[in-house]
């Protein structure tokens, strides 16, 4: 089954995307796409239904995103963990509350259960000591790790991560990418630069530039 399928898609008001694009990402894969920040942001937002394509169709986890009912769209979104740029961690709440909110929505958990789920993922990401800290006071690597933890809480069916942990040291990054693979069946990572650590872990690596989208193990 296909996790994400873009067919002849062009986002609105975009000069960089250039031409209608077809992308197929199979469920159960660790899929890495190397592309520009602009394309990465557009692709992630198209997949989550946050922007509508000017033409073409987007299908995610069996849901045609831009013609789906509101309930179907919400259900689809709740089975996806995402890290967008900017990361969108809520600045007025602690990391634990940020993750608990995601857990309560994604897992339909009660407040105490969602806090438990949040603490568990924070611990696995090595952020237990920062659970009560607000995102604004964190160094970049911890903040990125926290955003990734929010995407992973309650083990979503798929994660879409736009350059998620660029500031994290490579040894920790490997562990975090492994955690992604362990906690989510399908992992889609959009990276802006060549990343050997990521390429070693990926099932499929694709390059997406002005010449188009192509799968390439040596990308």
């Amino acid at each position: 089954m296909t996790a994400i399928r873009l067919h002849g898609v062009c986002p609105p008001d975009d000069t960089e995307w250039c031409r209608p694009t077809d992308i197929d990402i199979a469920e159960g894969t660790f899929f890495v796409i190397r592309t520009t920040p602009s394309r990465a942001g557009r692709l992630a937002r198209l997949a989550l239904g946050l922007i509508e394509p000017a033409e073409g169709t987007v299908e995610v986890l069996g849901v045609e995103v831009h013609s789906a009912s509101r309930a179907a769209l919400d259900k689809m979104r709740r089975s996806i963990g995402s890290v967008l740029q900017p990361d969108g961690l809520l600045g007025t709440f602690s990391l634990e509350t940020n993750l608990a909110l995601a857990a309560s929505v994604r897992g339909a958990l009660l407040k105490s259960e969602s806090r438990g789920a949040a603490r568990e993922v924070l611990a696995r990401c090595g952020l237990s000591s920062l659970a009560q800290t607000r995102p604004g006071t964190l160094p970049p690597d911890s903040r990125q790790t926290a955003a990734l933890a929010r995407a992973l809480v309650c083990q979503p069916a798929m994660v879409i991560l736009d350059d998620p942990i660029a500031a994290v040291k490579s040894r920790s990054a490997v562990e975090l990418y492994r955690l992604c693979r362990e906690m989510s069946r399908t992992v889609v990572i959009l990276t802006h630069r060549r990343n050997d650590v990521l390429y070693d872990l990926a099932d499929v690596v694709a390059l997406w530039d002005s010449e188009g989208f192509r799968t390439d193990a040596a990308a």
């Binding site: 946050l50 919400d74 979104r77 709740r78 967008l84 900017p86 969108g88 909110l101 995601a102 929505v105």
Partner: protein
């Protein structure tokens, strides 16, 4: 020549009419979104309740000194000024009556809501617009959280309750100061002033005053949050959202208050 003039007139009339029509349609659409989100299953749950409580605390509790100061100044100024003018006309006894009706039925809810606009409406617009620019709204929507449920409804509830409470507080302080000033200045004794107010006000007037204040507060919160959610461009959108929220809220309050006065009078 005549055709050109007619075309010019039609164009001049049509453009504002179109803008007004578009404005009405956008308000109807916004009300539709609000109703749809209010009746949908809660997606923000406990955090939405926390946001509403924080808003209530910010708007009601932390605004008390400002409201007290404005209410006390209003009570003192109106009592002294109105008595000076009324005494010249031999209408001293009407001062308490007029002040009571004016403050409880009209000025109390209106001025409390104006203070809430200045303090909380602008803060809501700035906070929501900033959340939008920082990607918080995209992150929440991407998780399947209804933005109206998270940003708008808790603030409407918090500000509505807070403004209702502030209205009661405002009315009590204004009338209390007026009574004290009147007694000190020898305009009327405490008991005479109180009796006059009792005679002119119905028991449920204060309740309806609070209800009106609450409705004004809900309108201010709704407008401010909605304006904040529409921020898109860049950092300049935050001050723009704040200005729009303040201007539109005050226009809404002035027009609604005037319409209510016309209907009730």
């Amino acid at each position: 020549m005549v055709t050109d003039a007619l075309a010019f007139i039609l164009h001049s009339v049509a453009a504002p009419a179109r803008a007004a029509f578009a404005g009405i349609l956008s308000v109807i659409a916004a009300i539709g979104r609000l109703v749809r989100s209010a009746t949908a299953p809660a997606s923000a749950g406990w955090l939405g309740r926390r946001v509403a409580f924080q808003q209530l605390r910010f708007t009601a509790v932390q605004a008390i000194p400002l409201v007290a100061m404005v209410a006390a100044c209003l009570g003192a100024t109106v009592t002294l000024e109105a008595h000076a003018r009324a005494a010249q006309l031999g209408l001293s006894e009407t001062v308490a009556r007029t002040l009571g009706i004016l403050v409880v039925r009209d000025a109390g809810p209106l001025l409390a809501a104006v203070i809430v606009t200045a303090r909380s409406g602008t803060a809501i617009a700035a906070e929501v617009a900033t959340s939008r620019l920082l990607g918080e709204t995209d992150a929440l929507a991407g998780m399947g959280i209804d933005l109206v449920q998270f940003y708008v409804i808790p603030r409407i509830i918090g500000v509505a309750v807070a403004t209702a409470l502030l209205t009661v507080y405002f009315v009590a302080i204004t009338l209390g100061v007026a009574i004290v000033i009147a007694a000190i200045k020898g305009i009327a004794s405490l008991s005479a002033y109180t009796d006059t107010l009792r005679g002119v006000l119905r028991p449920d007037d204060l309740f309806w005053s609070a209800v009106r204040g609450g409705a004004f507060g809900a309108g201010v919160a709704w407008l401010s949050a909605a304006v904040g959610l529409r921020a898109r461009g860049g950092q300049a959108d935050v001050p723009r959202a704040v200005t729009h929220a303040a201007v539109r809220s005050i226009m809404l309050l002035a027009v609604t208050s005037a319409v209510l006065v016309v209907i009730w009078s």
